[in-house]
């Protein structure tokens, strides 16, 4: 994952969550203010003011060209998304980022919301307003947000499909809601890193598939890793290791487990010796064809002695 988009309702603590995530991840926040100062820098101050006020104005052409302000916005955000890499994140607040980055595989699109009553109370307290004035402010902001996305992208901001995760802050603190977002960001970052490596070396990425263990041993081994709080991914990658003359894959190897923290693949073998020999051959080929890839075989006796020792305890 490289770009985190945050769409937030007024008074939902979305900005606070963006700041919290920025501090935790050590990354920059791109918001409306930044965009208006940096994306449209050569426009007159009058145009910038209108961009700040009117969603429709984004559809008009910038002075002296056929390019609309919307095009400029999309271009800049797309470039930001492309430049960012896993571990070097960027937080994009508002600006329809969830729509622009919808097809970016390494984006995490977050929606932050809360009930109107909660948000009204927060706005009233923050700006020292009476309840009714605060409610009017919240309703106006909601309409504006909705209109911006609707006018520019013909999308409905209330559609949950635009987001990977929705955080309701009615009963969650900034820290609690951010913890959920961080967990997703971290998991997606890990997946993105593997996907990028996979793409670079020509292996096949199938991390998104559901986990179906092939046998009880694999399930037990996963349990052992869980016991030790060692993070694992099940068969996240397939390494093609033999091709025919036409370039079709003749033989491939999908190690059973990947341990991200230790950057190591583990293949369990609890079967007959002849299969162990084949697996050893496959592991050798992976090491030759994909230098820097750590693969280890967990032999039957290793597994059984591990289970035995754990029963008595280590």
């Amino acid at each position: 994952m490289a770009i985190i988009t945050i769409s937030r309702q007024n008074g939902s603590l979305g900005d606070e969550i963006a700041q919290y995530l920025s501090d935790k991840l050590g990354c920059d926040i791109i918001d409306r203010e930044y965009a208006l100062s940096n994306f449209f820098g050569e426009q007159s101050s009058g145009s910038i003011e209108r961009l700040n006020e009117s969603a429709k104005f984004f559809l008009s052409s910038s002075s002296g060209s056929d390019i609309t302000y919307k095009d400029i916005l999309i271009k800049h955000i797309t470039e930001l998304a492309q430049d960012a890499t896993p571990g070097h994140d960027i937080i994009l607040v508002g600006l329809g980022g969830c729509v622009i980055c919808a097809n970016c595989p390494y984006a995490v699109n977050i929606r932050v919301c809360a009930s109107e009553d909660t948000r009204t109370n927060r706005i009233a307290r923050r700006f020292n307003l009476d309840y009714e004035s605060a409610r009017t402010s919240v309703e106006t902001a909601d309409r504006k947000h909705k209109r911006f996305v609707s006018v520019l992208f013909e999308k409905d901001l209330s559609n949950p499909e635009l987001f990977d995760i929705t955080l309701n802050t009615d009963n969650s603190s900034v820290e609690e809601a951010s913890a959920a977002a961080l967990a997703l960001i971290e998991a997606k970052n890990r997946r993105a890193k593997i996907a990028i490596e996979t793409k670079e070396v020509g292996a096949i990425d199938h991390q998104a598939e559901a986990i179906v263990f092939k046998n009880d041993t694999e399930a037990e081994f996963a349990h052992i890793l869980d016991m030790y709080e060692i993070e694992w991914l099940y068969e996240p990658k397939t390494f093609p290791i033999e091709y025919d003359a036409e370039g079709n894959i003749k033989m491939a190897f999908s190690p059973d487990f990947y341990l991200p923290k230790f950057d190591i693949y583990l293949e369990l073998t609890t079967m007959e010796q002849k299969y162990v020999t084949i697996k050893n051959k496959k592991v050798r080929k992976v090491r030759e064809m994909y230098p820097g890839t750590n693969v280890r075989i967990v032999y039957k006796k290793d597994f059984l002695s591990l289970v035995e020792r754990l029963k008595r305890f280590c």
Partner: protein, 182 residues
């Protein structure tokens, strides 16, 4: 022959005798003394296997050390053959910002060590180093940097110098291979 093992366990051979162990422990102590000079060091022994090694090693390190121990156990779990790992004795010394050296008797798969590292990492030490009396590099499932170790071993079943077979044999002064499988 010693009476320590009773009649249930037979020793097939002594793998590392007292003198060999003593010399190697002194060497490890000297290496650690040199590498950690000027740092605040906390030595954490993993119970119970590292008891004797921990004791000898700490006395071979010429630094102002703080000592602590950590212990593990497993809770039986009906849903699996192996149960659930838990810490039975946590460390008491504050290790925040300090150089931690984890002392183990033997590292085989590295699973326990990986668990230890992630547990100790959460307490924010300045660094974590590993020192094991024995290491089986062929069986390591984790990419764990074991900076200090006494001896490399293979698939032997060993007892003595802290290591046991059903809690017997820890107090042997040498490390021996048993003829009965662990």
């Amino acid at each position: 022959m010693s009476h320590i093992l009773g009649n249930s366990i037979e020793i097939s051979r002594i793998v590392f005798d007292e003198e060999t162990i003593r010399k190697r422990v002194i060497e490890l102590g000297q290496m650690i003394t040199k590498d950690f000079y000027g740092q605040e060091v906390v030595l954490i022994g993993v119970l119970k296997g590292s008891l004797y090694f921990f004791s000898d090693l700490s006395r071979s390190i010429d630094l102002p050390l703080k000592l602590d121990t950590i212990g593990f156990g497993s809770i039986p779990d009906t849903t699996s053959r192996t149960g659930v790992v838990r810490i039975t004795k946590d460390i008491d010394v504050d290790i925040t910002g300090k150089s931690v050296i984890i002392v183990e008797d033997v590292i085989r798969t590295g699973l326990t060590t990986a668990y230890l590292i992630s547990n100790i990492e959460s307490k924010k030490p300045a660094s974590i180093s590993l020192c094991s009396m024995l290491l089986n590099p062929d069986r390591l499932l984790m990419t764990i940097p074991v900076k200090y170790y006494g001896f490399e071993i293979t698939d032997q079943w060993l007892i003595g110098y802290g290591m046991d077979l059903d809690e017997v044999g820890r107090n042997l002064p040498y490390i021996a291979e048993t003829s009965r499988k662990q």
